[in-house]
Every structure is written in C-alpha cells, then in structure tokens.
Symmetry: C2
C-alpha cells in the first residue's frame, strides 16, 4: 500500500509500505477513505519536535473497518468509522470519568494515538474504546471532509469551548485561526455563544470564521489585539477564551483578553509557555483543557454533521491525492493552506 | 481608640489612633466586636511583602454599624454585620457577574479591601455592596468566632472548594493546614465530598481537620505526600485539590496529587510559583480560583453558622485582648497558633 513517511525535517514522501496487521487482539484495520495533515504534524516537519526518521505519519482518518482482532466486540467489519487521533480503552476508571487522554490501559500498553493514518490502510488500536461508527454506513462523498474533521480538529475545538465553559449568551474570543480555532468557532455557536470574536490576520480564514458564526474579527496582534477585544467588550474582556495555538504569545494574548472570572480553554500543545499566575489569581481567571478526549464528543458531532447543522470540513482548503499529500505539509507550513486532505 | 499598627517587619504594636470617619458617602463605621490576624498579614510582618510603616493593620472583623454615609441604603445603624476583607460595590457589571474581586467601581476608587480592622472601630468602604447583615442582631458570644471566620478564611476556603469544582461523592485533597485549608475541609463537606484528605504535619491541626470532616490525614511532605495520596486514591490522585498556601512547593504538590481531569482551586497568594503547564495539558488538569469574592458566599455561610451546622471559628486557637493581639502575629508566625483573635 501507499503511505506517507517522515524521512527528516522538511522531507516527507509517499512510499510503498507494508500493509498494517492486527498486532493486538483489540486492534482493527481500517481501509482509509479520507486522511489529512494536522497542525501538530508540522512541529516534527519543521524539526521542532523529535520524530523517528522512517516512521509513517498521520493520526486522523475516516474509513471502513476491514478486519478486527479477536477481542473486538462492538466494532464490526464493514462499519464506517471516525478514527479519533487518541486511542483509549473506553472502560478503565479514567475513561469512564471522561479522561480518555489519560487512559490507564492505553498508557500501560504504551499506546497514545493512532499512527500511520496518512495511508491507504491503518491499524487502529483499542477499536471498541476509540472508534465511532457512522450510522448508515459509508456516507456521501460530500460528507467525507466533515466527518474527517471529527477525527481531531473539530473535537479539539469543541474541547476548547467546553473547557472554557462557554455558556449560552457568552462573548467568546478565539485565539488561533488554524483549523482548530476555526472549529472552536463552530463549537462556540453550538454551545450558544452570542458573540464570537476571532483573532485572525488572514482574509481566507476570516471568511471561514464568519461563515462558521464569528461575529467580529480582530486582525491586529499582541497589545493592539488586546485593545481591540477590550473595546468590543466594554473594556472587560471576553467571557470565555479559546487558546488554539500553544505559543508564548498566543497564551499571553489569551490571558490579556479574558475578563475577570473567565476560563481559558487551551488545546494548543504548549511550547515555552509561561502562565501568568499573578493575573490569574488577582482576577480569578481559570485555565483548563489540554489534550482533547475528542471521542467523548464524536457521537454528537457525527449527528450534527449528518443533519447538516455543522460543516467543519470547510476548514479543508486543499484536496490532494495521497501521492501529493507531502506537498500539503509544505503548503500548510508556509500558511498557503489551512488544512490539506486526501482520499487514498 | 486602640488599634494595631505596623511599624516595621516583626514590629506591630497596639497604639492610640484617630477614630475612623466617613470619608466617602458609601462608607459605614463599624464598632468592632471581634477581629483577628490573617495569614496574609504575616507576609508583611516577615518583611516579605511591602507595607507602609505606620499603617494600621487588619482586614477581618464583625461588629455593629454605628454610622453610615449619605448614600448607604441597605445597611443601617444598629445592624450587626460581617465585614468581608474585600470591598466591592455590588452593582457594577463584574460584581453582578460574581467577580467581586475585580469590582470596577472599587478599582476606580483605588479601594481593594477593608483596612485597619484590628481596632476598636473601623471604616468599611462600599457598605451596601460589601457588608452582610447577621439576622437577629448581635449574636450570642459563642457565635462570634464562627461569624468572624466568615470575614475571610471560611469564605476563602469555600471559594477554593467551589473553584476546584468539588462535587458530591468526590475525593478531595487539601494542601495547607492553616485556617483557610481547615475551612476548605468544612467547605468540602458542605459540597458533598465523600472523602477528604488533609495534608498536615501538625497534630493540633490534624485534630481540627478531623473534627471538620477530614477522613484521611497525610503527614508527609513532597514526594512522600504525593505517594501517600496516590496510595489512598488507587494510584490516580484526588478528584479535586484545594491549594491553600501559595508557595512553589505547595502548588507543585497540588498538581502532583491531582488526578487527570481534576481542577486545582487555588486561594493562597502565589509566591514564586511555577505552573506545570505541560502536566496540565497532558492530563487535563485545570487551575482556577484566586482572590476570594467571599461576600458571594457569606449569606449562606451565616445561615449555616446560625443553624449550628458549621463551626469554622474552631480555627481560632488563641484568644487575646486587642492590646495583646500583636503577640498573635508572633505566635502565628512561629506556628504555635493557627489563628489569633480578639474582642476589642
């Protein structure tokens, strides 16, 4: 089969690779219908996170189950499934508490996420606990990108909004106009936000944000962005802030635009971030979130996609073949594309 | 009148001072029935926080209203009131949102807290927004310490528990066996915690914690404390953690003993604290709390004291005259007393 391989920083290629096999009795093998490149793939692509040369890449896909291990009970061959980026057993004490990102069983097995999903076929660990069946079988092609978005970015954006405790009527600010931030706009509308302020300097992303429900766009950065958000919020700041980047500057901006009593929902992997604990203390600003247990939200998000009430796949602005998908890394890294996908 | 004055680090004396007067039309003058020394007074006492030499001290008291400014509507002469340490107007947009610690009107007026409350009489700013009337007038002497505790420590402990999102059935861990931490135990019982683990090395404080509802005592510190809490919680950590100290070590311990998905409610003024944002991210551990808007909780806490269902004044283990109260600073600083009070 064909699959993407990381050779070295700035060097990802589509290669011929071995077919995946069931290694653990809880695995399933998926025939990939659609896969994509994640913002987090770019950290390794740029050499900022370590990655083993020769490893196959990708952790987001949807597809059809073609084989299951002996201990898989709920997932069946022929099911069309969303594969969450995170693997979780679904039945340990932490999974039952909704803390799938800290699944005890997966940690013991040394498994964190699905891997090698930018491929024609992929092995998904902990099938029963991780995969979500799309009712009705393989969906219409037009629905594929929207379901694919549930594999990571839409669930992660939703987790940002839930973690930020977005309430009906709230004014929400979203820091980060990547796919996750844009999905955070969708999530904020689902949770009843009245006003959604998107911080974005890119017209194409601003347009998607507006289409997703953003009511205001702030195109400045740093102190000027803070001033603009405050101006839009009677000098107070936003009721809830979604931090969807993970850099020192984005986190700093998130705290600056949060009103007293707000919670910052953070889902961007933190890189050299300082938490301003003094400001948190003085103004009772909370920080919550982290690695998103997206599978918790997937069933309701699948229903919302199938009903047509959300279209999170609109974040995909570059459709490629699997062979061309390495170019998606380049386009995303140079910010010419928001998110690239392929139908292997 | 007699009042306590800060002269220099380690030098607080009881002196003759001018009677307080109404300076702002929203002020009230209180004849102090009971006052006390706060853990936060000790930071300045030790010279670790700056304080103006010659300033009168204290921010916790209960007493009778003897005069009100022209614009005070709800508070009347003769009312017996709990004076929260924090002053808030009660009607600005942030007060209405429950964020009294960030009151816009008090900030504009340059007022943060009641001051000079270790005295026979005190001026309380923003009387209508800040003071809470005790129904039935001056209470029995035996109730005085319990109502006095509502001026700060019990409300602050309650805020820690609310911020940590303590739910019925939870296992709660409390870091800090000072008056606030002990009151955090009371608060956790009020919120329905099933199990309350108090970290304390002092037998007298352990005994109060047990009387307040703590089910387990961990007397180790640092890594050993973490190991003990994990052992008590099936290796997972506590569902909610109350951080009631504010040092680097206490905050570090709080994060170490929090289970994935837990929230740390922090109310100890942070001193050189590092927030382990990587651990927060990996395990979805939240941080919330800060300066406690105690007045929000005071009415329900007054009712609980009057009904006898809570006795937070049991944290006072040293009763002195106002003239002797400077010695209370010494005893508390040397950890021979938990909390000293006086009835001027």
């Amino acid at each position: 089969m064909r699959a993407l391989r990381f050779n070295a920083p700035f060097d990802v290629t589509c290669v011929e690779a071995d077919e995946p096999v069931v290694r653990d009795s809880r695995d399933a093998i998926i025939d990939v219908a659609a896969t994509c490149v994640c913002g987090s793939d770019l950290w390794a692509f740029r050499g900022e996170n370590e990655r083993k040369p020769g490893s196959l890449t990708g952790h987001e896909c949807v597809g059809e189950v073609v084989q299951v291990g002996a201990d898989v009970r709920d997932i069946r061959v022929g099911d069309f499934v969303v594969v969450p980026f995170l693997a979780s057993c679904g039945s340990c004490v932490l999974c039952r508490a909704g803390q799938l990102q800290s699944c005890v069983v997966a940690a013991e097995a040394g498994v964190f996420s699905t891997q090698a999903a930018q491929a024609q076929r992929v092995r998904a660990p902990f099938a029963d606990g991780s995969l979500v069946v799309v009712p009705g079988g393989r969906p219409a092609e037009a629905l594929l990108p929207h379901l694919l978005a549930l594999s990571d970015v839409m669930g992660t954006g939703y987790h940002a909004a839930v973690s930020a405790r977005v309430q009906p009527g709230d004014t929400v600010a979203v820091v980060g106009d990547g796919a996750v931030g844009l999905c955070g706009v969708v999530a904020s509308t689902m949770l009843g936000a009245k006003r959604i302020i998107m911080l974005s300097r890119h017209v194409d992303r601003q347009n998607i944000a507006r289409a997703f429900g953003a009511t205001d766009i702030v195109s400045e950065r740093g102190d000027e962005a803070t001033a603009s958000v405050r101006e839009l919020t009677h000098g107070l700041g936003a009721d809830a802030v979604l931090e969807c980047v993970g850099t020192a500057q984005s986190m700093s901006t998130a705290f600056d635009i949060a009103r007293p009593g707000a919670t910052i929902g953070f889902v961007g992997l933190p890189h050299d971030v300082d938490v301003p604990v003094g400001r948190m203390f003085r103004h009772n600003i909370g920080l919550a979130g982290g690695v998103a247990p997206t599978r918790k939200y997937t069933p309701q998000l699948v229903a919302a996609v199938l009903s047509g009430s959300i279209t999170p796949g609109d974040v995909f602005d570059l459709k490629l073949s699997l062979e061309e998908l390495p170019q998606g890394y380049v386009e995303m890294n140079e910010r010419r594309a928001i998110k690239a996908w392929a139908t292997p």
